[in-house]
Symmetry: C2
Subunit: 200 residues, 2 copies
């Protein structure tokens, strides 16, 4: 019997290294795939439809909301962002694990719909290192960085609603921890077919 894949939701502050962890995971394990979000914002230079995002019209997006075709969605400024159910369900049903990189609000929406979804919060080892990483990027002003750090501090109170918290101290360790979480979650008794075992 083919077992359904796991839905793994990864959140964490910008600069914590979520994206790098996800890429490593997908490269290492052929049975994990990354969910692609859809958005109504314009593609940026180099972004491809079906690779970085599904770029859809506002009208199409709102139709997906109405038809309950989104696992979660949010409106940021004037643009919608969301996770289409179709792709996720298709992969889970073929036994693939699906990783979603998503913010806290989206993660908690997903946990309501998919209680078996596994929520992982990634944090940097220290706040000062996070500040350093954001400064090194050179894309944010000091004010914007301080705002981000304040948000991180507020967000941390929500981490208790996550199933796991991974400290991204060394990338290799963080990836091993996420892999261990996935392996452990596959050992949940609810995934074991007792009836089949008793007939074996």
């Amino acid at each position: 019997m083919l077992k359904r894949g796991l839905l793994i939701v990864i959140s964490g502050p910008s600069g914590a290294g979520k994206g790098t962890i996800c890429r490593e995971l997908i490269q290492k394990t052929k049975d994990i795939c990354l969910s692609i979000s859809c958005t109504t914002r314009q593609p940026r230079f180099g972004e491809q439809h079906g690779v970085n995002y599904y770029f859809v019209s506002k009208r199409d997006f709102e139709e997906m909301i109405t038809n309950n075709q989104l696992l979660e969605y949010a409106k940021v400024y004037d643009n919608y962002y969301g996770t289409p159910i179709g792709y996720v369900e298709e992969k889970l049903n073929t036994g693939k694990d699906v990783v979603l990189e998503i913010d806290i609000q989206g993660a908690l929406q997903i946990k309501k719909k998919y209680p078996k979804g596994v929520l992982i919060f990634v944090v940097p080892p220290t706040l000062s290192l996070l500040k350093q990483r954001l400064s090194d990027r050179g894309t944010d002003s000091e004010e914007s960085i301080n705002n981000r750090l304040n948000c991180v501090c507020q967000e941390m109170t929500n981490t208790t609603r996550y199933d796991y918290l991974v400290v991204n101290d060394k990338l290799g360790n963080a990836v091993s921890q996420v892999e261990a979480i996935i392996m452990a979650e596959k050992c949940r008794p609810s995934r074991f077919d007792i009836k089949k075992f008793l007939e074996s």
Copy 2:
């Protein structure tokens, strides 16, 4: 800050390979130790006090019960078997993980006292393989083996009360799964010091 170790409880039918898994774990990882039970039964040939069991008098055992010094205990025929709290607490407080190999009743007693204890149930890949293993041992009559198998079938209904279920198909895989469970459980948000992080 030194983090408290994990209490890991391993149960499963005789012949599932619990003991081998525990020995492998302890050999591979210096931060895991095996809890030693105490019993009122007589030592068998070669058994050493403080290695295989703590051999104690019935009076001493009953005093331990009265003084709440046992994590769990059971009376099997005319002998008591139990897990002394002292050793377990001492190891957990020095950050060591403690593994207990114990039956379902004991495991469920422990979960009540230590809700953070991690219960793992080990099963063989099939019932017929279990029967084969028990026959190969040559220590049980066919009737006794059939009785054991009936007990296993009844016990399986309790596995849903365990946190994890590991199928011991190949020893290496089963040990990796238990190691993954331990690594994952150490990523629980309740073990993360948010206050310290916010000051970092």
